[in-house]
Structure formats: structure tokens, C-alpha cells
């Protein structure tokens, strides 16, 4: 492909791999949610798919007792310490999963079309600022809708070659006008 001239302005969508950043999984039963949120200083949204953003920390509610936390590297140790302190009084689990996923950024006018190639959900109706754990051609992924045409996709590391291969195929098809 090196003999081709790339015109990126005409690209139907862009796939970029995001740099590594800490990721934590939080599990806590609903009856302890509010107490724990206070101890950790976090705003834990209670509706699945909703996020809260505070001071560079992003939280996403993935299930009735499950949250994903994206936190800057310096905030991670503070959070882990607060969690250890709260543990005896408020049972929960806070587990680092930073190496489990790789995040792709998909953006551009046909990003939605590209995602529709592998994801059965109606992503057009996913509100901007929400996220969803769903499936992309048999791989569980988390899709964050950051803008009309801008998504982040967290993919488990071992599924990434498969997901990327499909996205590149879709990109080639869309570029050729199929």
C-alpha cells in the first residue's frame, strides 16, 4: 500500500490506538454504593451506560453493581489507598485491569457505518456522552460515544487483531465506494 498516496481528509473514518492509561474495575452491591462513593470521593452513576466525569476521572456504570474507572496515573494510588481504608466497613472490590483492554478511537463521517458492520445495536441512538458494553463481531467491547462521529472502543487485548482486521476491511470497502 506504500505506493498509494493517502488522502486522509477523504478517509471515511480514522482508527487510532490510544496510549496506555490506568483502568480499574469496581464492584459493589447496591446497598453499599452510596457509602462507598462518599469514601472514595467518586460520583457513581446508577444507570447502566451513564458516565460521570470529574477532574480527569471518568466513571462508567456497566451493570447494577459494576463500574469502570479511568483515572490518571497519579490518581490511581490515591484511589487504591482510599479503597483499602474503606474495605472493612464497606465490602467491595477494586481491581486494576489496565492491561486487559486496548482502546481505539474511531472518528470521521462514516465511523457509525463502520461500527454497524460489526455491532448489532442501533448506535445512532446511543446518546453522546453515554457508553455501552456490547459486541463487535463476537468480541465484547465497550463503546464510548464522545461526539456525533467520535467513538472510543475498548477491546480485550487478544481480540484486537480480529477487530482491527474487520475495521480495516470496512475502511477499504468504504474508501472504494462500496
Amino acid at each position: 500500500m506504500t505506493t498509494h498516496d493517502h488522502d486522509f481528509t477523504a478517509a471515511p473514518f480514522l482508527i487510532e490506538e490510544r496510549p496506555w492509561s490506568p483502568r480499574l474495575s469496581l464492584r459493589v452491591r447496591p446497598q453499599h454504593r452510596e457509602t462507598l462513593a462518599r469514601s472514595l470521593g467518586l460520583d457513581l452513576p446508577s444507570r447502566i451506560g451513564h458516565r460521570s466525569v470529574t477532574d480527569k476521572t471518568e466513571l462508567l456504570c456497566l451493570g447494577p453493581d459494576e463500574w469502570l474507572i479511568l483515572v490518571p496515573a497519579q490518581g490511581r494510588d490515591d484511589l487504591m489507598a482510599a479503597s483499602a481504608e474503606a474495605y472493612a466497613a464497606t465490602p467491595h472490590s477494586l481491581c486494576e485491569i489496565s492491561d486487559r483492554d486496548i482502546t481505539l478511537r474511531l472518528s470521521g463521517p462514516q465511523a457509525l457505518t463502520a461500527l454497524a458492520a460489526g455491532c448489532p445495536r442501533d448506535l445512532g441512538s446511543l446518546p453522546i456522552g453515554n457508553a455501552a458494553r456490547t459486541v463487535f463481531d463476537s468480541a465484547t467491547v465497550i463503546l464510548w460515544r464522545d461526539g456525533q462521529d467520535s467513538f472510543r472502543m475498548d477491546v480485550w487485548r487478544s481480540f484486537l487483531p480480529h477487530v482491527r482486521a474487520i475495521l480495516h476491511k470496512v475502511k477499504a470497502e468504504l474508501s472504494s465506494g462500496l
Binding site: I48, L62, E66, R121, R133
Partner: protein
């Protein structure tokens, strides 16, 4: 493709996000060693195999990850309702009347 309402996500989503998980409301015997072989066999293997409304478990595996229950008609594949795992089995008659 079927659309299934997840009672935890409170959204109606495509079937491929879900996994079927067998008949619902089958309680594990409190004291398995007190059971006869026949009773244990029945607990493990004998199912209703309903033709019509069937209470069954599903898991939102590519989503919230939760197990929940559903009432589905095995003839028409129509989901009458879905409900959380800690909710009682819905009575069929009023649901049928609402159809």
C-alpha cells in the same frame, strides 16, 4: 433477529448480546445428599419442555452481564415479558389477557 428487553439495562437490545441459560425457577435442593438418584436426575435433567409459554433464564452476556428471567412463547418466539432474577414468577393469565 429477536429483540430482548434487559430488565437491568432497561433497554431493548439485539439477541446476539444475550445468551440463553435454560429453564428458570429451578431451585437447587437444599440437601442434595438426602435425594434419591431419581430425584437428583430429575433436578439435573428433567425439564418442562413447554410448547407455548416458557419461563427461562437469559444472560446479558455482552452487556451488563446479569442473568434475568423471561417468559417466552416457544411456538411464536414472542417474549411476553422479562424480569429481574429476584422478582417472583409473573402470573400468566393477566399477561395473556393483555396480549
Amino acid at each position: 433477529m429477536l429483540l430482548i428487553h434487559c430488565p437491568y439495562c432497561d433497554e431493548t437490545l439485539p439477541e446476539v448480546e444475550f445468551a440463553y441459560a435454560g429453564e428458570a425457577h429451578i431451585a437447587r435442593p437444599a440437601d442434595p445428599s438426602a435425594l434419591t438418584d431419581e430425584e437428583w436426575r430429575d433436578y439435573l435433567f428433567i425439564r418442562t419442555n413447554a410448547r407455548g409459554p416458557h419461563y427461562e433464564r437469559w444472560r446479558h452476556v455482552h452487556g451488563c452481564g446479569r442473568f434475568f428471567n423471561a417468559l417466552r412463547d416457544t411456538v411464536t418466539d414472542r417474549f411476553v415479558t422479562t424480569y429481574r432474577i429476584d422478582e417472583p414468577r409473573p402470573v400468566l393469565t393477566p399477561l395473556e389477557a393483555a396480549e
